[in-house]
Symmetry: C2
Subunit: 452 residues, 2 copies
């Protein structure tokens, strides 16, 4: 019997990030300034990002070296393990081989640390001492807090108000790493005050929190802003996941028929899928790349490919991406990390060009599969990551139907140790499959900025 | 620079447990029946334990084979990683080399799964379909729930009342794995009813919960009892930790000057220390073996070596061990897993014979060191495990004082993802270094059963 775990040693850690911009048949349309609606120039971004990250954002070099100090910090948890989910295969009675890459073993509990560390590093190299950011469920806030602690920087986190109070454990984790975490909207920013004037009881949203964090960073010389997903440099940093997974699958002696990941802003999907997308683009590999999103926030499956803002107030550049409209408010599902109206422009372009696929899953379905996975493999997944499990299970059942021993690889992007109240709701039968508010979606899509 | 992580592959998993009874200069005095005060016969234990575990309890064979099915389940998380804590070394400015074995990477979040799986397995092999147990903070309850799920058995957990309500996340985790977890004392048992009659608002204790679980198991043919620490077979199963650590230290090119673990019932200490104790006994290795306990429950440093009950009601056999007396109620520190009055008889005998050492640490001190560790290495430790960190840090500072590049190995027995409210108290300055209730301790020690 081959191994259950396929491990890599420290010296097998990738030394470069893979940049898919070098291989894409079509690049995404460029970001536009929110003020002039003209193409953003690198210098326009200098108020909130350091030079190296701006360079990475537009670079078309295929391989970008990982600085040694970042590699040393990566080694705290990377290379991450790859597992064969034999007990899940058995439970599903499928001839499929199911492998998963486990990013929840990082000290932050998710893949987010893969980009938090280089973002903090390049900011520090650029003379910045303080970072601001937003966080929804808190995974990203924890990761950036850790990264800043590792690199002796200060971190300020605007956490969506409703999550701040619903997920106090996540806030505590940020505090342990020395971050200042406040419930957004706040009175500290113009954006926050604007929202609170209209709605003093606002429970906040990612879009609002981004506005606050960007506003503060833009106004201070020693302070920059960090984003946990969507942008090209974030997808770039996450490519370590897929690069390692390719080596590990080779050691296991299999090449995946399908690679699955959940998709919110797109970075964990990009992380595992882009190195395989290269095989598909350059070598015509038949591998299928499948992004799984919630039916309650179906950016890839029901959104438009269009220019849109990343935030609510309209402070961020306009990105050309699949979007539900920046005013769309998705139902309050438990996968906070997937409740974003937009999508990585790189992922969007690849979907548009038919290089990747997408599917949408309901909340009760993914919790069912999460519980099955936990019972089989022991690991309790984050609800976000459970979308990848759900889609992988569908693939495995399909393989059973077809009687084919297909190879499935999915990315388990994080553990659910801080999401247990959501599981409690699920077990109590209190989880609803909230219907997509079609009318609000139509209105939101109709309100997209009119830019061709 | 040598590696940060020292990993072992599936095929390096130990295939036998190491039984220190084969090598001890003096064996502990035998357990006595609580009813006759005569030496317990194996058949006396048959009401609550399966034959194989009873055999292991008294076996003097050095190596006991790990069944293949147990090995396969172990491979879900074992061999566990060994890390070099370079960033902690730097933060302490010490010439010492600090290594730690990380048991928190198990899906149960602690070392407890190492014995939960074989205990469930040998019970199932013995025709048992249902296990009862007690749990304090919940780590053991989670581990046994997982093990029972893996082996298709039913699990009933009596959780100390105060923890049941203080740590709802732990209860949720048990529920995810299908366990029935109830707050103890309950009205379901004679022992529980006895307590509730005297004190209807009883917040429970481990001793009470053990009484309930043992009573139920003793009364039902299809049901046995499982204990998460203290007993010889539990220490035996945990020996995989130390066996792996020895291989990993050899790969790293170092042999430890000191091996440290926290000590409640003794099994995680036994797990990492006993394979090194063998070197000490058989080969005269100068390695120091250090058990770290809380000053609030100082079993090894202030207890008596005497016969005592394992529970409150007096249903368990009398064990010859260091004890604070079964009526001692330790202050409500956050390290629930270390709030036990007794201690493994094997660990007790080794301390008595000068083969191991013990030290006691205060609550604020260990949280200080836990926060330092988290800031350096990223991992947030369980408060119990933070005792090992605290003692390891003392050793590292001592090495700095002496200007010696000593090698320190400690066992990080679990993560603290479900202990974050305790960290919140610590950061808010609300943690007290609760004084040992000397008077209550004196009274409790004076009440020890009078058996020579």
């Amino acid at each position: 019997m081959s191994d259950t775990k396929i491990l890599l040693n420290d010296n097998e850690l990738p030394t470069s990030w893979y940049n898919i911009q070098a291989d894409m048949p079509n690049l995404p349309k460029p970001p536009l300034s929110p003020f002039t609606k003209e193409e953003v120039k690198p210098e326009d971004l200098a108020a909130i990002f350091p030079p190296e990250l701006i360079k990475q954002e537009v670079s078309q070099e295929r391989w970008i070296e990982i600085p040694e100090e970042v590699q040393e910090i990566y080694k705290l948890w990377r290379p991450s393990p790859l597992y064969r989910a034999r007990r899940l295969e058995k439970a599903l009675d499928t001839p499929a081989r199911i492998f998963f890459k486990y990013e929840g073993a990082s000290p932050a509990g998710s893949h987010k640390l893969n980009t938090a560390v280089p973002q903090a590093y390049f900011n520090r190299e650029g003379g910045i001492t303080r970072l601001t950011t937003e966080t929804g469920a808190g995974q990203w806030g924890i990761a950036l807090s850790q990264a800043c602690k590792f690199l002796n920087m200060i971190c300020k986190v605007y956490m969506v108000n409703v999550s701040y109070y619903q997920k106090p454990y996540r806030r505590t984790m940020m505090n342990i790493f020395g971050s200042d975490c406040v419930p957004s909207p706040t009175n500290e920013t113009k954006s926050g005050r604007q929202i609170l004037e209209k709605d003093p009881d606002s429970v906040g949203s990612l879009g609002i929190a981004i506005s606050e964090a960007v506003e503060v960073a833009a106004g201070l010389d020693d302070t920059n802003y960090a984003l946990g997903s969507v942008l090209n440099h974030v997808c770039l940093h996450q490519s370590v996941i897929g690069q390692e997974a390719k080596m590990q699958m080779a050691k296991a002696g299999y090449y995946p028929d399908v690679v699955v990941a959940c998709c919110g802003g797109g970075s964990n999907f990009a992380g595992i899928a882009f190195p395989f997308a290269r095989d598909k683009i350059v070598e015509n590999s038949p591998v299928r790349l499948l992004a799984a999103e919630p039916t309650a926030c179906p950016t890839l499956t029901k959104g438009d490919l269009a220019y849109d803002y990343g935030d609510v107030t309209g402070l961020t550049p306009l990105l050309h991406m699949y979007t539900l409209g920046s005013e769309f408010v998705p139902p309050g599902i438990h996968s906070g990390g997937l409740r974003y109206h937009g999508e990585s422009p790189l992922v969007s372009q690849l979907l548009h060009d038919g290089i990747i696929d997408a599917c949408a899953l309901t909340q009760n379905y993914i919790f069912d599969k999460a519980a099955l996975f936990a019972s089989s493999e022991g690991i309790i997944p984050a609800p976000e990551s459970a979308h990848a499990i759900g889609a992988a299970v569908e693939e495995a059942l399909d393989a059973r139907e077809a009687g084919e021993a297909r190879t499935i690889l999915f990315n388990l992007s994080g553990h659910g140790h801080l999401d247990l109240p959501s599981y409690e709701s699920y077990m109590d039968g209190k989880l609803q499959d909230l219907k997509l508010p079609e009318e609000s979606l139509e209105k939101s899509l109709a309100g997209l900025p009119n830019i061709k």
